[in-house]
Every structure is written in structure tokens, then in C-alpha cells.
Symmetry: C2
Amino acid sequence: MLSERRLEVLRAIVQDYVGTEEPVGSKALTERHSLGVSPATVRNDMAALEEEGFIAQPHTSAGRIPTDKGYRLFVDKLTAVKPMSGPERRAIHNFLDGAVDLDDVVGRTVRLLAQLTRQVAVVQYPSLTRSTVRHVELLSLAAARLMLVLITDTGRVEQRMIDCPAPFGETSLADLRARLNSRVAGRRFADVPQLVQDLPESFDAEDRGTVSTVLSTLLETLVEETEERLMIGGTANLTRFGHDFPLTIRPVLEALEEQVVLLKLLGEVNDSGMAVRIGHENAHEGLNSTSVVSVGYGSGGEAVAKLGVVGPTRMDYPGTMGAVRAVARYVGQILAES
Amino acid sequence: MLSERRLEVLRAIVQDYVGTEEPVGSKALTERHSLGVSPATVRNDMAALEEEGFIAQPHTSAGRIPTDKGYRLFVDKLTAVKPMSGPERRAIHNFLDGAVDLDDVVGRTVRLLAQLTRQVAVVQYPSLTRSTVRHVELLSLAAARLMLVLITDTGRVEQRMIDCPAPFGETSLADLRARLNSRVAGRRFADVPQLVQDLPESFDAEDRGTVSTVLSTLLETLVEETEERLMIGGTANLTRFGHDFPLTIRPVLEALEEQVVLLKLLGEVNDSGMAVRIGHENAHEGLNSTSVVSVGYGSGGEAVAKLGVVGPTRMDYPGTMGAVRAVARYVGQILAES
DNA sequence: GGCTGGCACTCGGTGCGGTGGAGTGCCAAT
DNA sequence: ATTGGCACTCCACCGCACCGAGTGCCAGCC
């Protein structure tokens, strides 16, 4: 195992490198941190750290930079989430509090997160399958044309057009609406399919076709929308990194445009409720030089969606994690209130 | 006025520069285009064009590049919109046809446009004020809690929570819903305010407060949402330009994140229904080295929103304009069908 | 054994002068 | 009005030397 001081050296290297964006040498380290030892000693420690794969040098006779493995150790053992200050927390709350609807909440969250972390922010809309149904509405638009509107407890609304196989009377419509709602209101979307399974049977033969159509549209909606929506922002922050970066920025922007990739990115969340993926830990190779900090958020105790930040592996992990956690917490509150 | 041949030279310069991204010289021009004159003659023409401000040289003894004014002349007089080929048109239609709801239509449109033009695509959601009301729905969520849902003929849906000053009975609710719809359904959103003005008066005193609250929420929604929503995509395409571009790309990304700027960007549309803003013609200075091609689209004859493309001034104008026009046309069709 | 100062070495970054080539402007001739 | 010829300009590229930060290693010291 590495000695205490060597870990301290690694921590110092990470901190300095994050700050300066330049490889850090032994002399600079001893000057900026009171390690109580000479540069020569630090050099020995660095050699050991390099041997173990925590740091690397871009070329002989340059300073060291942390490897993905080094950042991993730093995040896991050498640092703690940095909490937001009181004023910051208030500002977050105030900013989110003015939102008028779900789109607005998500939009504000993205902007806020991008601004706080000065990185790219990604916010997933509250998922349907993990939400509960607040209300199902059926509107008659024309003789054989219906509109289905789904409303979740998180304020999300989905709608679909339905062409009925046969005209559907206003009373049948009211009937279906009432029965649907009594069965599914307040229940989780995931449970809807089995809750409505036997519904067509209780209708007259002539209406049964339409009822089935409506139900299958409803179920389709649940499936399609499991492919979640999300919003991103702060892409301009990408330009703050590496001066080399046509090469760096291109694949990142490309990855950010693919919903599927992004959703995977937010990925699983660990014990403490927060996930940090560093460099090559991200499956998508365009993101091999970025890190992702993500966390679930929700109106109640349970997570209904995720949000996170994408930035260079060389990022301020404690600060970023603090901001992400704080924002998630307040978004949850806002959703619960609405 | 400039002679015919000089215009021809300008056209050749624009085409070559767009293709090669490098300043074009007199010799290269005569080789790649059959102008029927010698390089020396072309040099004279170039000197004249430069005198008039249509082209410029980055430095003495380099080739010429078109100025904004040069592109302007090119777009206005020297070229025509390039129509899409049959297969391309079919592909566009097929791609858009699979959309399940408005978000999906807009999302697909953005991706399509970005891919066709290989530039940044911007698509505005159909505006509320220029749409007509399909239906207004009022749902009772709790004793004194309502949800207002607005549905437009373009498939857009807006919802708002309403806290009532007093409990509101189911019959009153049905009454209000019916009266509201009979007044506004099929009418333009812009006309709604005056159509509902006298509605509270026809209700009992006890319900009047709630009715007013509902109406004011409705009107607020119209106002807030006049601040339109939009979607952008294809930002990765920005990296294809100028190798110099931390400086170039940064302000563009920043501008793209500001809704307000973007909406202004789509701007007015000229006679032919298409607007082209070149370089400094864009008010926002981050976009001084980009051009914007925009056009209105709509389900009927009338435009309900706009879409467009943002790219370098050095872009393929005929092709881009063709793609933008074609996409707008097909999106209009899709919206009309739904 | 671990820490330190000293020292030779490596290697990327920077500044400089020379060269080549593309492109221009001008002019005299057609 | 067009053209070929010609001198000139200036950027891009190349090789070179130099500088300095940083390293690895070693001998000495605690």
C-alpha cells in the first residue's frame, strides 16, 4: 500500500493540475504545498506513484499529470464532496423557484447547473415508468378522433392522437374516462398495463374495438416514452478546455447529440447516490477524456430521473459533486411542491 | 455597374472558396473555370471587385476571399436555390413521417436538417399566438386545485396548475369547460383574450373568483409562451470549420444557448419566404462570421413558426437554401396531417 | 532505511534566418 | 480591352541553437 505521504502527494498533484492545467513538477509541488519534505523526496514518491499507474508524464522531463486511475483514487479516498455555501444554496432555490411548468423547471436546472459548474449540464425529464399517474384525460376532437392526455405527478404531460375504428359516443367516452381514472390514478405507470388489461370486456361489443385501440395507444405511449427525453446546456463551456481541441471537442459534441449515449451516461448511481465516471470508465469512446458526475433526483424519497455534468477528467471533483448534489436536491423539492 | 464577366468571376471565387476553404488566386480560377480569358485579365477584374468591396485579400500576395457584401451579391443575383433531388425528397418525407408527437416532429426535423446541411439546425416550435385553439381542458385534481391544458391545431400542448380561491364544484367546472370551448375552439390564440373577457360575469358570485383565476392563468400562459421554445442540433458540425476556432466556435455556442438571440436570428422572412443573413448582417456579434438561412413553415398556407440553419459565411448557399426550403415544406405537410 | 542536495541529462518550446512558392500589380505590346 | 512578362511581397516551412523546467540517479547524511 502507498504511504500516507504519497497519497498526500497525489492529492496535491490532482489539485494543482486541476488548477493550472499544466503538468506539475516536484519543485512546484513543494513550494505550493507544505509537505515538509524536499523536492527530491517528492520525486521518489512520484516515481512510485507512476509505477503504480496513478500518474504519468506526457513526455520525459515534463511534470506529472494524474491518470484516470489517479483521479479515481482521489475521488474515492482523498477528497470529500464540497458542500455549497449558504448564499449559493439560496440562489439555487430562488432561481428554480420561479419556474412555471416542467419544461421551465428542466430548462432552468440545465442553465443553473451549467453555470455553477462551468461545464456541460444534462438533465433528464422525470421518467414516466417511475412516476405515478395523476390523471388520464380523453378528449373527443371529432366523431372518430380522440386525444389521449397523460399527466404525471411530476407535472409531465404526454398526448397522443387516436383514430377510432368506430364512432364513440360522449357517454361511452365519459364512462371509459371514469373507469380508466379510477383504476390508474395514483398508481405507478409501470403497473398500468396489468391494471387495464380486462377493461375492454366490460364494454358493449360495438365500443370494444375503440376501447382496445385507446388502451393500446396508452400502452404504446408508455413504451415509447421509456426512451426518455432530456435537455442539455452549457456546451459553450467545452471551449474552455485544452487548446488542442478540435479533436477533443468534436466527439464530445457528437456524443451529446445522441440521446441513447447520454442516457447510458447518466448510468447507475452508487451507494451515496452519486456516480462519477472518469475517462475510460465511460463506455462511449468519444467521452474517454471526459468525466461524468451524475445523480438521481425525485420529488419524494425516490429518484424519478437523473441529472449530471460532463466535463474534462481534469475537473474540480469536490466542487462539481457538491453542485450536482445540491441542484438535484432542490429540483426534487420544487417538483414535490408543484 | 460591373460587367457580366466580373460577376462571373465573383461567382467563381465564391464557389471555389466555399469548396476549398482557401483564398483563391487568378491562375487557379482560370484553370478550374472556363472563363475564356487569361489570369492577367482576371487579376484586373479582381482588382475592380476588391475596389467595390466584394472580395478582399487576407494579406498582400495571397488569393482573394469573398466579403459579406460579396456573398450577398452572390446570393441575391448570381445563384438560384438548388432543389433537392427526388430521392432526397422522398427520404425527407419518410424520415419525418414516423414521428409520433410534436416533440418528435421537431426533434426529427432538427436532426434531419443538421444532417442534410452538415451545419447547426434550429427549429422553433409552432407558436401559440399564430396557432388556433383545438381544445381547452380543465381537470380537477383536488378540491381547490385545477389543471389547465391547452391544445393547439399543431399538436402543441401546454399545461398549468391553478390554485383556486374557493372550492369549485364538478358541475361548475363542466359548465366553464363547455363555455370556454364553445367560445375559443377553432379560434386563433391571439383572439382569445377578448373572446373570454366577459365570461366571469355569467357565473354565480361564489364561482366568479375561480373563473377569473382560471382565465388569468390562461392569458398568462399565452403571454409567457409567446416567448417561444426551440430546439437546436448539429452543433458538432461547428467543428468542421476554421482550424483556428476556439475563438470562432465559442461565441457561436454561447449565442446558440440564448433563446432570445436565436429567436431574433430566425428573424424576418423576405418575399420568397426565405431569409439569408450574412455575417455582419446578424445583429449579435458572436455570429458575425456566420450566416443564417431561415424560413417559415406551417400546416396551412400560413407560417406558424420558423426553422433555419446556422453556418459559416463560407457555406454552400444554394444547397443549404434548397435543404431548408424542402424540410420546411415537408414539416408543414406532416403537421397538417396530424 | 529514509531523506536530501548535487549533478548530468533529456526534451519540448521559442526565436531566428533562409528559402520557396503562390500570388499580386504594373507595364509595354498586341 | 486583353495579354505575357517581370519584379516584388509575404506567408509557410524548415532547420538550428538555445533555454529552462524537470527528471533520475547517486553519494552522503541523519
